[in-house]
């Protein structure tokens, strides 16, 4: 092991039932560096971190830690803490109802001779720790009195005070504002200078270039490479994360795409926004047009769609559907206007796990018809059969519970749910995530076919190549803001440049 290396992971491989989540991944962390771990959804970032912290049990590979003989295998977060690995998550894992000092010391409080907690002593020590880290708080106040940023910092302080050599920060900045992020960075730099190795997981490119020394990129469970920040400009980073190589899917013809922009407008959004997630944006979508939204995870690409659909009610702005001004308070309103939305989180917002394929397919149509106009059983079965055949859903029967299907087939069922409502405007948020290649191209073809039938489609994906194949226009999102649209010269490179932004970042 090199002198200044604190942690190395070699050849980490891990299987989830049926899926290879990580394959031969390497990772090296040195003393006193901030190391970004980058990758899109499903790249394996969180799986790798869980392997390091003992939550996941990896199947092959070795982890070495400075000062410890032989390979280390953690079985719980406690084990990880004992070998000096501490983790701070996006969701602060502290107790908001206890004081800052208690959160620092719970489970290891200093005691008085009467076997009671020595409050005075740990308050004093806590204050000293916080002062040393440059965090100005009153440690005797409850944690809930402080902003999320301070809470993050308290979590970090707890980790650091427990003698950690490796500090993992898993998307700590996603719910912080700029000023708070800056404070966090000051703290991170201070810890780096003290020799702590920090693994920083984030999806904000700006932050990587602001605070990190090195970058490791993962894609689809594979190790792509380790770079120093200087040698990897933004565009290259985006390329590394998204993969440049065009896959060998059949080229899909975009017939009529050119004429779609002359069609009447289906959706016209003006100044729509949702506080905290997406800043006001304008967007027009014509009938029969497929519009893509390109941007990194967390750029506001999903949130934009949710604001249109009413999944998160828009706070400002106006929306016109088919030329008429409309007010959407909740999804059913949008559905009644002929919209449908396939959400990105299939498990949390898509499937009704314990209901059958048939029930999952007819749910939206039934909801739009109303409770007292039930679809007859025969009609339900007819619809289910129709879509199982149309989308080639692999299920043992239409009465099989949807949770027993594979991810791709679950996704097709949700797609069938919306197709059954015959929508004029369909939002597809990552419809191909975690789905095999064959199904992917089926879905892409279907999108083009639907557009050909005159339906408007808003297509969100983290794979630029599949959007290139299907979309005639793309909106670019960055940091919760719509920064532009591309309608000609739609190439991988142009889109990536637009996503990466940062004009002063000269191309290498």
């Amino acid at each position: 092991m090199e002198d200044n290396v604190v942690l190395t992971a070699r050849g980490i491989t891990m299987f989830f039932p049926g899926v290879k989540a990580l394959e031969d991944v390497n990772f090296t962390l040195r003393k006193g560096e901030i190391h970004a771990l980058m990758g899109e959804n499903g790249a394996g970032k969180s799986t790798l971190i869980k392997c390091l912290t003992g939550i996941n049990d990896f199947d092959a590979g070795e982890i070495h830690i400075d000062g410890i003989e032989g390979p280390v295998k953690n079985h719980s977060t406690r084990d990880a803490q004992n070998v000096g690995i501490s983790t701070v998550y996006q969701e602060v894992n502290l107790c908001p109802n206890l004081s800052v000092a208690e959160n620092l010391f719970i489970g290891r409080e200093p005691m008085t001779k009467f076997h009671t907690i020595d409050r005075k002593s740990y308050n004093k020590r806590s204050q000293a720790i916080m002062d040393e880290l440059g965090i100005s708080v009153d440690v005797t106040l409850n944690l809930e009195n402080y902003s999320l940023a301070i809470q993050q910092m308290v979590a970090i302080a707890r980790a650091v005070d427990m003698d950690c050599k490796v500090l993992i920060l898993d998307e700590p900045t996603s719910s912080l504002d700029d000023e708070e992020v800056e404070k966090l960075f000051v703290l991170m730099r201070r810890l780096r200078d003290k020799g702590v190795g920090i693994i920083f997981v984030t999806h904000f490119l700006e932050q990587v270039y602001e605070v990190c020394d090195r970058i490791t990129v993962l894609r689809d469970g594979h190790f792509v490479g380790e770079y120093s920040v200087e040698e990897l400009p933004r565009v290259k980073l985006v390329a590394a994360m998204m993969g440049k190589d065009l896959d060998d899917l059949a080229e899909i013809k975009k017939e009529g795409a050119a004429t779609a922009s002359n069609n009447p407008i289906e959706i016209r959004a003006r100044g729509l926004s949702h506080t905290g997630t997406v800043k006001p944006f304008d967007l027009d979508i014509h009938k029969g047009e497929v519009v893509g939204i390109a941007g990194l995870l967390g750029s506001g690409r999903s949130e934009l769609a949710r604001a249109i659909y009413g999944a998160d009610k828009a706070n400002t702005g106006s929306l016109e559907v088919d030329g008429k001004e409309v007010k959407i308070n909740q999804p059913i309103d949008a559905m009644n206007l002929g919209m449908g939305m396939l959400p990105d989180d299939r498990k949390a917002e898509g499937i009704i796990a314990d209901l059958s394929v048939r029930e999952n397919i007819i749910l939206a149509l039934q909801a739009r018809q109303g409770m007292f106009k039930p679809l007859s059983r025969a009609k339900q079965e007819e619809l289910a059969d129709e879509y199982i055949k149309l989308l080639q859903i692999k299920t043992s029967s239409k009465e099989t519970l949807i949770k027993q299907l594979s991810g791709g087939n679950q996704q097709k069922v949700i797609l069938a749910r919306w197709l059954a409502t015959n929508p004029d405007f369909l939002i597809l948020d990552e419809p191909t995530r975690g789905i095999d290649i064959g199904t992917k191209s089926e879905i892409q073809k279907l999108i083009v076919k639907l557009a050909g039938e005159g339906k408007s489609i808003l297509f969100i994906s983290s794979e630029i190549s599949e959007m290139l194949r299907t979309c005639s226009r793309m909106a670019i999102m960055r940091d919760g803001e719509k920064v532009g649209e591309l309608d000609k010269d739609l190439t991988q490179e142009n889109v990536m440049k637009a996503i990466a932004g940062g004009e002063n970042n000269n191309e290498a």
């Binding site: 406690r78 894992n93 107790c95 908001p96 009153d138 902003s147």
Partner: protein
């Protein structure tokens, strides 16, 4: 509100409201029923005497509720304790061995419930509902009749029950010209002792603070290295033991065991804790507030009793109304906090 401190702490406000409410209630009782002797210190002492058992029970329940749990078996456990005491003493067993037995039963019973809640992960409501059935039924299995503890059966216990602990001030001269000193019963001393001990325990011991941690965020508590399952189990043991102590106090008042004793007491205890600022979602509250919750309940009953004309169901309705108000305020505070975070 994003940076720095939030000046107004909702929980402190709730506690202040509770205390203010007690003061207002008691004061209005004094004003309206002053002529009926409500102003005498003895009225307050009587509230304490009547509710000595409830104070112990509510303290235990508060500890369970802090971990986001609940224990509705307490009323039935008290009935079983009283019946055990009564029958045991009738059989000629001494007061002290019986009390020790009752406490041991409390530990075992609590440990069993706690195991089911903590280690098997069954909803506390269901577990303690079964516990409530079990205790009620067992009370009847021990004896279906009402059993009284008289002086003949156990003079020691009888003497304890009738001991007056005189308070050296606050007495009054009655219309016959005799000076009556206010007094409390030994049960009150026990209850107040329990109150102080639990107050200190919750504030100043590892176990006490871990109860708050588990209720605040069980997942975080696990991540910070606390044994959440064990803590939950211990909380139930504590609740059942304090309930048994409460049962003894209760028995000192009633001097009898009967199947239908202390029915609905669990709801009095829960509402006392909630009115006293304990959140049913866990993590917030202390026994000081619970004590005032008990006092409010006691004052309402006392006022209704002093009035003499009001229907006997008014205390229940008023307590429920207070419960309603406090639950809605709590949920409003929670909603505000959530919004301010976004």
């Amino acid at each position: 509100m994003k940076n720095g401190k939030v000046r107004l702490n909702g929980h402190t406000i709730l506690l202040l409201i509770t205390i203010a409410l007690f003061v207002v209630l008691y004061a209005s009782g004094c004003i309206v029923y002053g002529s009926k002797g409500f102003t005498h210190l003895q009225t307050f002492c009587n509230i304490l005497i009547t509710n000595a058992g409830l104070i112990c029970v509510a303290c235990g329940l508060t500890c369970v509720m802090l971990t986001a749990g609940i224990d509705i078996s307490v009323g039935a456990l008290i009935a079983m304790d009283c019946m055990m005491l009564a029958v045991g003493m009738q059989k000629g067993i001494g007061a002290v061995p019986m009390i020790i037995l009752v406490l041991i039963v409390g530990v075992v019973f609590g440990a069993f419930q706690g195991y089911l809640v903590g280690y098997l992960g069954i909803q506390p409501f269901i577990v303690t509902m079964a516990g409530m059935f079990f205790c009620r039924g067992m009370t009847a299995v021990i004896c279906t009749d009402q059993v009284s503890i008289t002086e003949k059966i156990n003079p020691t216990f009888y003497k304890w029950a009738n001991t007056k602990v005189v308070i050296p001030f606050g007495g009054y001269v009655n219309n016959k010209g005799k000076y009556l000193a206010p007094y409390v019963r030994p049960g009150v001393i026990v209850a107040l002792l329990v109150l102080v001990v639990i107050f200190i325990m919750l504030r100043n011991t590892k176990f006490g603070r871990s109860l708050y941690a588990v209720g605040g965020n069980a997942q975080s508590a696990t991540m910070m290295g606390l044994n959440v399952k064990m803590i939950r189990m211990k909380a139930h043991i504590l609740s059942s033991v304090l309930c048994s102590i409460g049962g003894i106090c209760y028995c000192l008042n009633t001097m009898a065991g009967s199947v239908s004793q202390a029915t609905g007491l669990e709801m009095d205890a829960i509402s006392s804790a909630v009115i006293g600022g304990t959140l049913l979602t866990g993590g917030v509250g202390n026994v000081f507030g619970t004590f005032f919750g008990v006092l409010i309940n006691g004052t309402i009953s006392s006022i209704v009793k002093t009035n003499g004309k009001l229907a006997s169901s008014w205390p229940n309705i008023l307590t429920a109304a207070l419960l309603f108000v406090f639950i809605v305020i709590q949920s409003a505070f929670a909603a505000i906090r959530e919004r301010s975070k976004k």
